[in-house]
């Protein structure tokens, strides 16, 4: 590499002026300028030739350059719209009245009854004797008769079981038939997702099964990278990994679709019309 001298400095000086001089040459050039005051003065003159953009010059008619976002007109038919509004109002009134009506306990009771199987299952596993007390519902007057009938049936079945030497307890007045255990108990071979103790910035490592497609593996890896900042380590049961990978891949594809749809939604502006009447106008810009 040639030294910067009085005979060849011009090109280096211009490069230095334009900020294009190689980094390793900059110190050499600065030293050269210190050694040669005449050239340093020349450099000062050259610096004066650098133009400063005149920011007062602006393109005023930017409006003419801008393009409107594509509009999507959602045209609602008047009759259908009116019908939809009426139905909506009726539904609203119905739910409003229903909320105040005495049938609310029935709804909550139904919920309790629906939720009992898991409760029964869990409590019976812990303490089988207390379980019937916990699941006793509070019947509304409307349910007294049916429940009494159910009670009779239940008592009869309990009596039968007792006769057969069954160890079932009879201390509950409203013992609901016990749900089948197979439905609610977790299977032995089911996928296990454990939340492990956190380690600093440790990436999620998902073993790649052989029978997945390349796309699915890539999608799963992408998802794993995306959730990495949560600093959670996830371990999967190896026997069920293909299904998990498929689920992860599907989830990633869905998230991509959502992202794409979101972009499209933000790009457009929307005009909602009933017949020819403009109802409202949504502009994302």
């Amino acid at each position: 590499m040639a030294m910067i001298t009085i005979h060849n400095y011009e090109t280096y000086l211009i490069d230095y002026l334009h900020g294009e001089l190689a980094a390793e040459r900059v110190d050499e050039m600065e030293f050269f300028l210190q050694e040669n005051p005449a050239i340093a003065e020349e450099f000062q003159h050259l610096q004066q030739t650098i133009l400063v953009p005149d920011t007062t010059i602006v393109f005023e008619d930017k409006k003419s350059l801008r393009k409107p976002a594509p509009s999507l007109i959602v045209r609602l038919k008047p009759y259908y719209s009116a019908a939809a509004i009426v139905i909506g109002v009726l539904c609203f009134i119905y739910f409003l009245l229903r909320k105040d009506s005495p049938s609310e306990p029935l709804a909550s009771q139904t919920k309790t009854l629906l939720s009992t199987p898991s409760t029964v299952n869990n409590t019976q596993q812990k303490d089988p004797q207390q379980a019937p007390e916990k699941i006793v519902p509070h019947p509304s007057p409307a349910l007294i008769k049916p429940l009494a009938t159910a009670q009779k049936t239940a008592n009869a079945s309990i009596a039968k079981k007792n006769k057969q030497g069954s160890p079932a307890t009879t201390n509950s007045a409203l013992d609901i038939p016990k749900p089948e255990k197979q439905i609610y108990e977790p299977k032995q071979e089911q996928v296990v997702v454990k939340e492990m103790p956190l380690k600093k910035e440790e990436p999620i490592q998902l073993p790649i099964p052989q029978n997945n497609t390349q796309e699915e593996v890539q999608d799963a890896a992408t998802l794993a990278n995306n959730i990495a900042p949560s600093k959670q380590t996830i371990e999967f049961n190896t026997r069920k990994q293909p299904k998990l990978f498929k689920a992860l891949a599907q989830l990633t594809r869905l998230s991509r679709k959502v992202k794409h749809t979101k972009e499209q939604l933000t790009e457009h502006e929307y005009i909602v019309m009933i017949g020819n009447t403009k109802l409202f106008h949504l502009n994302n810009n």
Binding site: E20, T49, L65, N284
Partner: protein, 162 residues
């Protein structure tokens, strides 16, 4: 690039492009037309242009359109304008470094002037300027060197004249 991104480009780059055009052609209407044309081309090709490369694309299109226009009109009118303003300057002796520099800039050959403007206004590198103008990097450097030397001499001559 979508519509929203295109409109962002309008906000970001229209002033820069207009400044560059105006300094080169020195005619506001023509400069505006050139900016309009460049953005129209960008709009037509927005699907193929990434947002990050939009500025470079705009300047490339604008530059080509400008060269075409300059060739068409042969700059007769502008040369007259330039001579008038220089005459005014020498008569009034109003000393303003910026004005002096602008007048000297207008004396430069087109290519040197364009390179100076690209460098100083937009901060383009030698490589980018070479791509835009169709020259090689060596030619870019030589033209810039000549332009700077000329501008420097103009400034020095004005100083000594005073």
């Amino acid at each position: 690039m979508n519509t929203k991104q295109y409109n962002t480009c309008v906000e970001l780059y229209s002033d820069h492009l207009y400044r560059f055009m105006l300094k080169n052609v020195r005619n506001t209407d023509l400069a505006k037309d050139l900016v309009q044309m460049a953005f129209e081309v960008l709009w037509l090709n927005k699907d193929n242009v990434e947002e990050e490369k939009a500025k470079s694309y705009l300047f490339t299109i604008g530059y080509r359109k400008m060269i075409d226009e300059i060739r068409k009109q042969k700059r007769i009118v502008y040369n007259e304008e330039m001579n008038d303003s220089i005459g005014g300057y020498t008569q009034t002796k109003s000393i303003d470094l910026k004005k002096t520099l602008e007048l000297a800039l207008n004396k430069l050959p087109d290519i040197q002037k364009q390179l100076i403007l690209l460098k100083d206004y937009e901060g383009y590198s030698y490589e980018e300027m070479a791509q835009l103008t169709g020259l090689n990097e060596g030619q870019v450097k030589i033209n810039l060197y000549r332009a700077r030397t000329f501008l420097k001499n103009e400034l020095i001559s004005v100083d000594t004249h005073i």
